[in-house]
């Protein structure tokens, strides 16, 4: 069994296509993690703050309220915006590459400076009154992100499709072995039982290993970026293009802002457990379907409807994703039904309400179903893998 697992995993993970895909993912991840550096060479202003050269008094006035997208510099030649006081007027020079938005922004700040400067010339007794009249009192508050933003759901469904695609590869492997006559030859060296469980382990391990490899790539670039500038440039870019409402200066600061609780992590882990159990059941069913396939041409027509059924589960989880459905409607019922529960129950306890008893009951049902399907699958596998193999004894050594 060990040989079968090693052989299959090596073929899956170290074939030219898989390596190419991994290499491509590696490069794309690197490009994403360092997107600010290469974007700045193409579109400098997207990433870097606009340099402003201005008189000292204006700098002092604006320093506390200037936006993160701007920075004051002393050297005129470095500045893209130059502000000069000439006699009674203010002259502003704007680099041609800058947009109209910058002109409006500078105009607003300069106007504000001018207003306050002029007010300063009046007696102190009326200054407050003038400020009150000329400037509205605006209190700007960023709303906290919604707790039901369903980012966890997006994460889980992404994993759902990723794991499904990995697990279906195993069913295809059996089809290939059958159609290339390799199966018969392999079964003259290992028992049906060993072959069946080898296929199961291969499916599970390939899901885990491929997940690890992709997560590993992300962590690698994260570490490199951390050593480079702690992610400052990347966050600057995300802030500039309005992907983030707040400009973070390091990964650590960003992680702290996520306010990840122990409860949330536990919930996500339990959600994964549901997802994994469901995928395992799906995987066995796919194997069972695949062993009835005699020709490679049949594979699509036999497996196709099954994929549609899985898509149905996914879309139903979206349509039923309402408090009413999830707390007492169809979503509530489906959260206890194995296979459906891999999406519905995590959604309930992550975003709605589910008691511990309900979670344990659903998990037990999923686990029980998985155990039954594994046992039944083994028998079915033995009986139908080769013509006439029904009631074959699994006693080979």
């Amino acid at each position: 069994m060990k040989t079968l697992i090693e052989f299959s995993l090596r073929r899956r993970l170290s074939n030219p296509v898989a390596l190419l895909l991994l290499g491509f993912t590696f490069l794309v991840s690197g490009a994403l993690f360092f997107s600010d550096t290469w974007i700045s060479s193409i579109a400098y202003d997207w990433v870097n703050p606009v340099e402003i050269n201005a008189p000292e008094e204006l700098v002092q006035f604006l320093e506390k309220q200037i936006e993160p997208g701007y920075v004051f510099v002393e050297a005129k030649e470095e500045a893209k915006i130059q502000i000069q006081f000439v006699d009674q007027s203010i002259e502003v020079y704007i680099h041609p590459t800058l947009s109209q938005y910058h002109a409006y922004q500078i105009e607003a700040w300069v106007t504000q400076y001018h207003t306050f400067s002029e007010i300063q010339k009046y007696p102190a007794s009326i200054q407050q009154e003038m400020i009150h009249v000329m400037t509205p009192e605006i209190k700007m508050t960023y709303l906290p992100p919604k707790k039901d933003d369903h980012s966890g759901f997006i994460f889980i469904t992404t994993m759902y499709f990723m794991m499904l695609s990995f697990s279906s590869a195993m069913a295809n492997e059996i089809v290939v072995e059958k159609t290339s006559n390799m199966l018969e030859l392999i079964l003259t060296s290992v028992s049906f039982k060993a072959h069946y469980y080898a296929k199961m382990f291969i499916g599970w391990l390939s899901v885990i290993l491929q997940t690890i490899s992709y997560v590993g790539i992300a962590l690698f670039w994260l570490l490199i970026r951390q050593l480079f500038d702690q992610g400052r440039g990347l966050f600057q870019l995300m802030y500039q293009i309005h992907w983030l409402p707040v400009r973070f200066v390091s990964f650590k600061e960003w992680m702290v802002s996520l306010n990840i609780s122990h409860q949330w992590v536990t919930g996500l882990m339990v959600g994964f457990l549901f997802l994994f159990l469901g995928i395992l059941v799906v995987q066995i069913i796919m194997v069972v379907i695949s062993i009835r396939i005699e020709h490679i041409e049949e594979a699509g027509s036999v497996q196709g409807p099954f994929y549609l059924a899985l898509l149905l589960i996914y879309y139903s989880s979206i349509f039923l994703n309402t408090p009413n459905q999830m707390n007492e409607g169809i979503g509530y019922i489906l959260s206890f039904i194995p296979i459906f529960s891999m999406l519905f129950m995590p959604m309930r306890f992550l975003f709605y309400q589910a008691s511990l008893v309900e979670v344990i009951l659903s998990l037990s049902l999923s686990l029980g179903t998985w155990m039954i399907v594994v046992q039944w699958g083994e028998q079915y596998y033995r009986d139908h893998l080769i013509r006439g193999s029904k009631q074959a004894k699994c006693e080979k050594k």
Binding site: N181, E184, L185, S189, R387, A392
Partner: protein, 293 residues
């Protein structure tokens, strides 16, 4: 000794094999012969434990037959096309629990023996059918099996490879291995086999040593070329006439009468080719079939 005792396996459509009894000694080659659907493959599958027997027992040297004791070359090419030749061999050797050092040693030996060193690093999809068959032989032999099962091993091979494989089979029995092989090409395996098991419609029609069959059938044949009108059909002693393309084969019951006709034909220099021989396996099996029918 391989002992097959009353092995039966019938499918729903009543095809399969019934009550097969066979004993094959060490260093013996046994041909399993029969027409398509006679039960040869079912018997092999039972021995390989791919399908369960309805009844019967198989032992090797008095003990239960284990998968690790068997080497198998299937009738159809069964290779993973994108693998290199050596990778497939290593895979099957590891499935038989061989250690890597032993695998490499044996692999060197067998690639040399089968004159296949030139394809060792080639992908199997780049190899000819004959070369793929050689690789399957190496896969079957590398772990030194006690029982070698060859299902139509010579099918699809060119003349050179047929001779090479026959030589390998013949030599390999000297290691003490018991060899079962099936074939439609009776002539090809006649010189290899010590005994035969003839199956027809799932049952055994004949089982025994080839020498015993021939002793029981002392006929002699004269094969001559370019005799479309069977000129010698009425010659004294001719009991059967078989046409085979441009050749005609006369079967004589008595050696003396066959010699008489042969000498006469040689004297008159009537034909380009003349061949005198005892009955071939193919002829004998024809006899057996006819007698039973």
């Amino acid at each position: 000794m391989l002992e097959i005792k009353g092995v039966s396996k019938l499918y729903g459509d009543k095809q399969g094999c019934q009550s097969i009894h066979l004993n094959v000694m060490e260093q013996e080659i046994c041909g399993v012969l029969g027409r398509n659907g006679s039960g040869k493959t079912t018997l092999f599958r039972c021995l390989l434990q791919l399908i369960p027997m309805d009844s019967g027992e198989v032992t090797l040297h008095g003990e239960r037959l284990l998968l690790s004791d068997i080497g198998y070359v299937p009738e159809e090419r069964s290779v993973i096309q994108d693998l290199r030749a050596w990778e497939l061999v290593v895979f099957f050797a590891k499935l038989k629990n061989m250690k890597m050092a032993d695998i490499y040693r044996e692999m060197d030996y067998w690639f040399d023996k089968l004159e296949a060193q030139n394809i060792r690093n080639k992908r199997l999809k780049e190899c000819s059918k004959g070369n793929q068959q050689k690789i399957q032989f190496i896969c079957a032999l590398i772990h030194k099996p006690k029982l070698l099962i060859l299902d139509e091993p010579l099918t699809g091979l060119d003349v050179d490879n047929v001779e090479l494989i026959k030589k390998i089979i013949y030599e390999h029995r000297k290691t003490g291995c018991i060899i079962l092989l099936s074939s439609h090409q009776f002539e090809e395996i006649e010189h290899l086999c010590d005994r035969v098991l003839v199956l027809e419609h799932s049952i055994v029609k004949y089982s025994g040593r080839i020498k015993d069959i021939k002793d029981a059938h002392p006929q002699i044949t004269i094969t001559i070329s370019d005799d479309p009108y069977r000129k010698h059909s009425d010659v004294e002693g001719v009991c059967r006439v078989i046409s085979d393309g441009h050749y005609t084969k006369y079967v004589f019951r008595e050696q003396k009468l066959a010699q008489k006709m042969f000498l006469s034909a040689v004297k008159n220099r009537e034909y380009e080719t003349m061949k005198v021989e005892s009955l071939t396996l193919k002829d004998l099996l024809g006899d057996i079939h006819e007698n039973i029918d």
